[in-house]
Amino acid sequence: MADTAIHGSIAAETEKGVPSHATSTGISNEKLAMWVFLGSDCLLFGGLISTYLLLRHRSISGPEAVRNPADVFDIPFTSVSSFVLLFSSLTMALAVGAIHRGDVRRCRTFLLTTALLGAVFIGGQVYEFTAFVKEGLGYTTNIFGSAFYTLTGFHGVHVSVGIIFLMSLFVMSLRGKLGADRAETVEIFGLYWHFVDIVWILIFTIVYLIP
């Protein structure tokens, strides 16, 4: 459901290029909607993280070797891919800065870089999932597997949706439709992207680092 809602907000936000200053709060409708949506999305991840925390040590079925999180994780590898994702927040911020200065070309470059970094993260997640499955931890193997893949999978879907939007913005920019007047579009998308990164900090800490 999250995907569609995000889509809705972004789509609506691109409806109007220039932020409206005529709103009662002074914040544009589109930006306010994104904030409200992100507030809602906090609860989505809150529910998923709570579920994971409740279930991660409760596996009593499936092979012994993959019942505990500590048995399967490859922390150095995930640290690197986490760093890549966090780095993409920097490039996203640079893209927003560039468009606010009216530097359309640099904004476009940073948007593409952000998308590529996000794709590297997703690639890492795919690699990681494949490795875990090879070790014997499938989605249905045990309760830890179900909870782990669902939580990280939902985050992965959020990143993937973000990449789709980044590419859409990139194409818009190539076609000359993402000028400085649409700086707020980039900024609002940036809110989403930073949110997804912050959620990953939580997930990485809670799922991987805390034993």
Binding site: A2, T23, A33, S61, R105, Y139
Partner: protein, 714 residues
């Protein structure tokens, strides 16, 4: 999106103004504003509200038939009208339908129709998203009900306790339809909630501070905030259930180590705010009705607002009172017991304020007023039985008995639904331009009240005698026979009452066709801004966005203090109202994409259940519609603007632009000043007779801006 209008800018888009993006070439842009097709593409919040209401009443019929089937089966002991399995499906689908497809969308109908009007806006913040919300709700509701033809309805109760709803115990596809259908209606509610929250925060007329908003809008606002935060929680629960059932995940698989309490917690963390989502809009409605028919302002307006907010907050801290018998441990039980008792306080404040509003008032017992009083009394009974649940030892005795059934019908039917029925009578002339018959309305009310108490009153007794809920039948000799028969008779009295209601709508409509009598903008001598526009409401709502200086702004246009300090009438409603003849108001254009996008969602659902190929097709439609939507400008530059297509004349334009600008200038200063350069530029353009949309103009400039490199191909 001229709805988010810049007040100082002209409201009209020039013919031939630059288009920033072209719609994908699949559909020509819908243009019509009449005929059935226009309803499919409309983005008008009033029409969407009407469609919410009509769909909800359709589902109300379905849920009512299910209820009658349940009561027929229970009329006498030892009956076997149909199997226990079908009985499970009937009570589950009855509950799911009534809560998710009747009461929530009825609330949505009122909130969609009224909240933009009451805050003095021309539409919601995102008109197309609003249309999408409705279509997604309808798609989810219809999908859920198609389960009857595709292997049987959901059969695990409306709260669907896992693992009882796993494939092992519920092997039909019913629970899959439940999980995915509700997921889709959840998307609809979430999108609508974001939309209305932004509308209330951002689209208020100048001078309409938060504490000048009508109580209905306040309650709607709290409701939408509850939805924003409650929907994702039920989404998580429904996702987990879906993954368990369709992809063999282990979330509720006890043999793999699952904890059955997980579902209960997730469900009720959503489920208890949900009951306030059901009731708060109805509280808002009676808070509008009672002052009008008591000829007094609402008593203790700030208390009404803050008690609503308090209910909104405390509603998050009481969910485990649904789980007292699940073995939570004494500390949790004591804590939730206390918080449950506390939440009765703000609710009591509301009831007290309604009584105090009526106290000493000049009461007029019209049909809306009768229903409002019905809510106050019936909800109080339901609230009192609710307080008995807060006492954990008593609750342990009452759990899973008919006492619980009696309680929640008193609050949801006697509370929410009574309020909505009153609201329908109250705002019917505003929406459709004719009154419902008062005589039949009173029959409707009294039959409803009597039938309701006959049906659900005896359930208190049955429950305390120990009759369990969700039982297919019962044996003779336990003393259940008499009250069950009374209850069944009552259910059919309610059905009769609803027939009277349907007859009332039909008769009043026919009468209106034969001999149209317009009730005028203000048939009830009412108080808030929606009565300041004509009935039915013109497409553009306000000719001129009003500047608000009082709570009950419209009332203050009609009544003022004279020299002796006495309040006297200075204008009739018709005189104080706007004539509704504005021209050249630029409205958001209709669109096919919300409907297309919403239609893709149930396809994904069917696909997940039956054949992944359909899901891929559905996903493709969603993606396509998403991009089509994104690349379609919210305003069609070729469209006629406003209901009066001739409003192109320079004179009209000027008048309108000034009318909009006068009042709004103050807000600009209050919010954020426009760049100074803007205004003269627009005046210049406006003087040319074809004022350009500032958005389109700005973007156009950017497209051809010299900082672009050679790759610009437009």
């Amino acid at each position: 999106m001229a709805i988010v209008e810049r007040p100082t800018a002209p409201l009209e888009l020039a013919p031939g103004a630059a288009v920033t993006a072209r719609p994908l070439g699949f559909f020509t842009r819908p243009q019509g504003t009449t005929g059935w097709r226009s309803w499919l593409t409309t983005v008008d919040h009033k029409r969407i509200g009407v469609m919410y209401g009509a769909s909800a009443l359709l589902f109300f019929f379905l849920g009512g038939v299910e209820a009658l089937a349940i009561r027929a089966q229970l009329a006498a002991p030892g009956q076997e009208l149909y199997s226990a399995d079908l009985y499970n499906q009937l009570f589950t689908m009855h509950g799911v339908t009534m809560i998710f497809l009747v009461v929530i969308p009825l609330g949505a109908a009122f909130m969609n129709f009224l909240m933009p009007l009451q805050v003095g806006a021309r539409d919601v913040a995102f008109p197309r998203l609003n249309a999408f919300s409705f279509w997604a709700f309808l798609a989810g509701g219809l999908m859920l009900n198609t389960s009857w033809f595709l292997g049987g309805g959901a059969d695990g109760g409306w709260f669907a306790y896992a693992p009882n709803t796993g494939v092992t115990f519920s092997p039909s596809h019913g629970m899959d339809f439940y999980a995915i259908g509700l997921q889709i209606t959840g998307i609809a509610s979430l999108v609508a909630a974001i939309n209305l929250v932004v509308t209330v925060l951002n689209m208020r007329a100048p001078g309409m501070t938060l504490m000048k908003m009508p109580v209905f809008t306040w309650m709607g606002f709290v409701t939408q905030l509850l939805l924003v935060f409650a929907i994702p929680v039920i989404s998580v629960a429904l996702f987990l259930l879906t993954f368990d059932r369709l992809f063999d995940a282990n979330f509720f698989n006890v043999s793999a180590g699952a904890d059955p309490l997980l579902w209960e917690h997730l469900f009720w963390i959503f489920g208890h705010p949900e009951v306030y989502i059901l009731i708060l809009p109805a509280f808002g409605i009676v808070s509008e009705i009672i002052p009008v028919f008591s000829r007094k302002p609402i008593f203790g307006y700030p208390f009404m607002v803050f008690s609503g907010i308090a209910i909104g907050f405390m509603g998050w801290g009481v969910w485990a009172h649904h789980m007292f018998s699940s073995g939570l441990g004494p500390i949790s039980v004591a804590a939730f017991s206390l918080s449950t008792m506390f939440i009765a306080v703000p609710t009591g404040v509301k009831i007290l304020n309604w009584l105090a509003t009526m106290w000493g008032g000049k009461l007029r017992f019209t049909t809306p007023m009768l229903f409002a009083i019905g809510l106050v009394t019936m909800f109080t009974i339901g609230g009192l039985s609710g307080v008995t649940h807060a006492v954990a030892p008593a609750d342990t005795q009452q759990t899973d008995t008919y006492y619980i059934v009696a309680h929640f019908h008193y609050v949801i039917f006697g509370g929410a639904l009574m309020g909505f029925l009153g609201g329908l009578y109250f705002w019917w002339p505003k929406a459709f331009g004719f009154m419902l018959s008062e005589t039949l309305g009173k029959w409707h009310f009294w039959l409803t009240l009597i039938g309701f108490n006959l049906t659900f009153g005896p359930m208190h007794i049955l429950g305390l005698q120990g009759m369990p809920r969700r039982m297919h039948t019962y044996v003779e000799g336990y003393g259940f026979e008499f009250w069950n028969m009374v209850s069944t008779i009552g259910a059919f009295v309610i059905a009769l009452a609803m027939l009277v209601f349907a007859g009332n709508i039909l008769k009043s409509w026919r009468q209106h066709r034969v001999d149209p009598v317009n009730p005028g903008p203000d048939p009830w001598d009412a108080r808030s801004l929606e009565w300041m526009v004509q009935s039915p409401v013109p497409a553009h709502n306000f000719d001129e966005v009003p500047t608000v200086s009082h709570l009950d702004e419209f009332w203050h246009h009609k009544y003022q203090e004279n020299a002796e300090g006495k309040v006297v009438r200075v204008a009739t409603g018709a005189e104080a109202a706007q004539p509704g003849d504005a021209t050249g108001v630029h409205l958001p254009s209709p669109s096919y994409w919300p409907l297309v996008l919403a239609a893709g969602l149930p396809l994904i659902g069917y696909g997940l259940i039956f054949n992944l190929g359909i899901a891929v097709a559905g996903g493709f439609i969603v993606l396509l519609a998403g991009f089509g939507w994104g690349y379609e400008p919210a305003d069609d530059p070729d469209a006629h603007h406003g209901p009066h297509g001739d409003g192109r004349g320079p004179g009209h334009d000027d008048g309108d632009a000034h009318a909009g600008g006068d009042g709004d200038g103050e807000r600009d200063e209050a919010a954020e000043p426009e760049p100074a350069g803007n205004v003269p530029a627009e005046v210049t353009v406006g003087a040319g007779g074809n004022p350009a949309d500032p958005d389109a103009g700005a973007t156009d400039t950017a497209t051809t801006a010299p900082d672009e490199d050679g790759s610009t191909d437009g």
